[in-house]
């Protein structure tokens, strides 16, 4: 087990370096001169030259990349070209909102997805199953920025059960939960659909196996057969899907934050793209991609813990 973890961690190093290089190089190639962005329209040629010298833009590309990586490793993502604000600081202020939103959505997605999947499997080919299957397809197809708008219209404007937008309270307070509810449903719906599909097919596969028949034959109650005997094995692929979806939800927060005007990393990224604030874009993309890779690594390790067969491959 320790062997596997060490091997996976080592594989992570080139991947993270690759991510940082892609992020660095793609925005380096983007049009526009950082010096004139910082200097503004009134800057003279000498000003621009000195800004360029300060930023180290005259060094070779490789030196610039090494300096960037050196900074990143020390937690320094550079300074915004537009506002001169520290990128690390700007991201850290907003990160808790993004994180809370992802966690809340994965909870919503898991509860709805696993629930619907189990019901759909044990009531296979009934109208409940059809309803859940079509519901899952609709969940995958619905544009979540639209779903969010509709939820606001119904539950925040018409019935006024939830606030319209923004997150101002911590998630453990009643107000905080209310603020997170609609965004979490919006973001979690797509993942709920994928989890439901996976749960359904996993349960259907396990439920036909001999040991389930044995359990039923020896008189175990149906509820216990499903929850204790069947779910234990069916959950293995489901856990993987949940883990992978958590990573995707981190990326998905970008759109949901925009819909609900939540001050998170995703919203920061969109504002930075619109303002051509490249250091900010670099920082936000680097953070989201790194977290995504780390979450996937964690899922891999958990998978090996839950299923001993994986370890020997």
């Amino acid at each position: 087990m320790a062997n596997l973890i060490v091997r996976r961690l080592l594989q992570l190093i080139p991947l993270l370096l690759g991510i940082s290089f892609i992020v660095f190089i793609s925005l380096h190639l983007a049009p526009g001169d950082p010096a004139s962005m910082i200097g503004g329209p009134t800057a003279t040629k000498e000003d621009l030259a000195s800004i360029r010298e300060d930023l180290g833009l005259n060094d070779s590309l490789f030196t610039q990349y090494l300096r960037y990586i050196g900074g990143v490793l020390q937690g320094d993502l550079g300074y915004s070209y537009q506002t001169q604000q520290s990128v690390t600081e700007a991201i850290m202020i907003r990160f808790p909102n993004t994180f809370n939103l992802s966690v809340a959505s994965i909870i919503v997605a898991t509860v709805i997805g696993v629930g619907a999947g189990i019901i759909s499997a044990i009531k296979q080919n009934t109208s409940l199953d059809v309803l859940s299957t079509v519901g899952a397809l609709a969940g995958i197809s619905i544009p979540n920025f639209w779903l969010g708008s509709m939820l606001i219209l119904l539950f925040a404007v018409y019935w006024q059960w939830f606030p319209v937008a923004g997150i101002t309270s911590p998630p453990w307070t009643m107000q905080g939960i209310k603020e997170l509810a609609l965004p979490a449903i919006t973001l979690g719906t797509g993942s709920a659909a994928l989890i439901a599909r996976m749960t359904r097919s996993a349960v259907l596969e396990v439920i036909r196996q001999d040991y389930i028949r044995t359990a039923r034959a020896k008189g175990v109650r149906e509820k216990n057969v499903i929850l204790l005997h069947c779910m234990r094995n069916a959950m293995i692929p489901v856990i993987t899907v949940i883990g992978l979806n958590f990573g995707f939800l981190l990326g998905g927060t970008i759109i949901t934050e925009q819909v609900f005007a939540i001050n998170g990393v995703g919203r920061l990224l969109i504002q930075a793209i619109a303002a051509r604030d490249y250091t900010m874009v670099q920082g936000a993309v680097l953070l989201i991609a790194t977290l995504f890779v780390l979450v996937n690594l964690l899922v891999d390790i958990l998978y090996a813990l839950v299923d001993p067969r994986i370890r020997y491959e």
């Binding site: 925005l27 049009p31 079509v134 995958i140 544009p143 639209w146 708008s149 969109i270």
Partner: protein, 301 residues
Amino acid sequence: MAMDTAVSTGGVPVEAPSPEQPKRLASTWKRVIKNRLALVGLIIIGMQVIMAVFAPLITTYDPAVLDLSVKELPPGSKGHWLGTDEYGRDMWSRIVYGARISLVMGISSVALGLIGGVALGLLAGYYRWLDGLLMRVVDLMFAFPGILLAMLIIAMLGTSLVNVVIAISIWSIPSCARIVRGSVLSLKNREFVMALRSIGASDIRIMLKHILPNCTAPIIVFGTMRMATAILSTSALSFLGLGAQPPTPEWGAMIAAGRDFMWTSPHMTVIPGIAIMLVVFAFNVLGDGLRDALDPNMETR
């Protein structure tokens, strides 16, 4: 891992070449039609194609012409059965022309993505020495969750519909490459490939004329599913202001504009959303149906 192999061919086993291609095509078609959900998908897609092709014939108003005397009319109004938007533009015209944009965006970004993905997948699957390098590049692209890679590309190129096509097609390449590579790996050591090699057929010829035709099933399924993703992403990026700019009648951009009028004229937000959902749903169920139909093991199950 067992899951990897399932993903790599899109769940469709690769078959040896058969002389009965037309017959197989007909039976695949029959199986797709028999699947009721897939049939629904096919009908919706058919309607979208008709709307896109005959847009000027089935609308009476120009989608971009402003008429403030009829602004924010609700659906069911005289002359504007789907109502009008904040500038008095006809919603039906905008939806119809939006169908055209979404179809063109979907087809062009999926086609470009398929070309790139198939080329990478063929090379990686066929040449062992290239495989390691190309698959590391693919892994790297997979490290960006969902729409993030597309956003990074747009941040670099600037906001426009053309750049959205480029972004979405690049984002499609890694998954397509993996699927094709998986098929090629299982095909390249088969007897018919060895036979071709022994009679001196060139690598290019073997790849394009003999291996590629045998990977079409997973590619078709992937392409169909990817249409759904591409259309959804186009509208999402436009909604965020990173794609189509007003007054382009793009569905996602229409939803973004309509949000400011959601309390007074909800139809401006509701209608384009339903349009996106129907089309994305259609490509998803058709993709599902095609996958089942192209899987020869399905009948025995």
